[in-house]
Symmetry: C2
Subunit: 273 residues, 2 copies
């Protein structure tokens, strides 16, 4: 039996509540290292990609040339882990879990970068589909993967990204099925959010982008579609990660998928109209 | 041989040039009674539907309830053939050709309404797809039917309109094929123009709206589609005409298809953003 006066020990899997700042504080103090979906609803969650400064110019141009899969929200100063304008953020501690890649290979995940951070690191903060999914749901449309607590189906498409320096490769896309009238509405709603992948890149004819079998080629758990649904494909934030891995950058650190950076900006602030 | 000093007699098939006002003047003076596509490019051309006042309230509610096929731009005062705000317009003379329906049956076409106009007539002016087609072309997309000097394929769909009084019936739709990425762009572009049919009502799965055979069920000349194209369906201005005919209104006068009212408003003025 636990005495009432005894406070339970902090657990890293207790989902924090409250404002984005409160959630980042819990993560920063090591009280939470889990996925961030559903936390601080309404606020922008972002993809993170950290590279040595030697690669930053090329990567910046890669993002600029491929805004659908790589919508750039912010870039830090060299060596500076803060993110002015997005909250009181320390990128070394405020993401629940990080993936570390060396020479393009995954080597470990860590819960902070205090020992790995370097003075030549540049961090790229990229928009994430959570933002436009909120807009889709608020428009009254359903997202089956959200209802099932899953992620959307993900594919490596045959759409080529525009290269920059060593960064290149096929576009990774996520797929969400909709009935035709809802598909039109989903295109309208997501078009308002170019900073978080924006409108779909493809609709309805997966074989034209190298996807001959929706089920077999799905890189994440496949969810069956209805006969009356069309597949819509959006640029995916895994695209830059693949480009970085294929470039065999000596060191690259990203957020661990689903373990995002929670910022102080409202998703609605990213709507262009 | 024609003497140089002899001016050729005005011909009703000589396409007029110039401003919307100059084109209407030519039509009003009987110098032109042909189709208006391509005239006064950039200016709103509109569908016309004239009914006795007894039917006007129901028809107004029918348009309000079905804005995709029946986007209402203006309604006149009872018995008044002018259209303040849209130019120096006399609706009795300024449309090249009118179709007259009695008890729902076509009886004749005429080039003016001077002898048919009644003190209880109300005119409804409805948006037309020419406006959004201009926006599609300006966005750099191609429209095959325009290139061929034809109209788009038209279908009676199984989508039911919302009834009002005696007005009801299936929605007539027009179809334009696009490759998937262009389809997304066409949805974005036409979404900006809700006053002229706006976004499509359907995409990609014609059997879901009662169209099992795109070629056989086309009411206007069918144009073949590419294997890499999706059909997009927009609400069509023939829908209210069908509703009026099916309501067997004692008298109804419309523009003759393709012989539109040319107004002084710019298409671009109808864009909502």
């Amino acid at each position: 039996m636990v005495a009432l006066s005894q406070e339970p020990a902090p657990k890293a899997d207790a989902r924090p509540q409250g404002s984005p700042a409160e959630i980042r504080q819990a993560i920063r103090r090591g009280l939470y290292d889990g996925p961030t979906g559903g936390l601080a609803m309404g606020y922008v969650q972002a993809n993170l990609c950290i590279l040595p400064a030697d690669y930053a110019d090329d990567f910046l141009r890669y993002c600029q040339r491929n805004p659908k899969p790589c919508p750039l929200l912010a870039v830090t100063e060299v060596g500076d882990p803060t993110l002015p304008g997005w909250g009181d953020i320390d990128l070394r501690t405020d993401v629940p879990k990080y993936d570390v890649f060396r020479d393009g290979e995954f080597v470990e995940d860590v819960t902070d970068l205090l020992s790995l951070w370097r003075g030549d690191f540049v961090a790229f903060v990229l928009g994430c589909s959570y933002s436009f999914e909120q807009a889709i749901l608020e428009a009254g449309l359903r997202l089956r993967h959200v209802e099932l607590g899953r992620g959307p189906c993900r594919y490596r498409s045959s759409l080529e990204t525009v290269p920059a320096g060593p960064f290149r490769g096929g576009m990774v896309v996520t797929m969400r099925p909709f009935r035709p009238a809802d598909a039109i509405r989903a295109i309208q709603v997501t078009s308002r959010f170019p900073m978080v992948h924006g409108a779909p890149v493809h609709i309805g004819m997966p074989h034209l982008i190298g996807i001959k079998d929706l089920e077999a080629q799905c890189d994440s758990g496949f969810l069956p579609m209805g006969d009356d649904e069309l597949p819509l494909f959006w640029g995916c934030g895994v695209t830059p990660q693949v480009a970085v891995q294929e470039a065999r950058v000596p060191i690259c650190i990203t957020h661990k998928p689903a373990h995002m950076l929670v910022t102080d900006r409202l998703n609605s602030s990213l709507s262009v109209f």
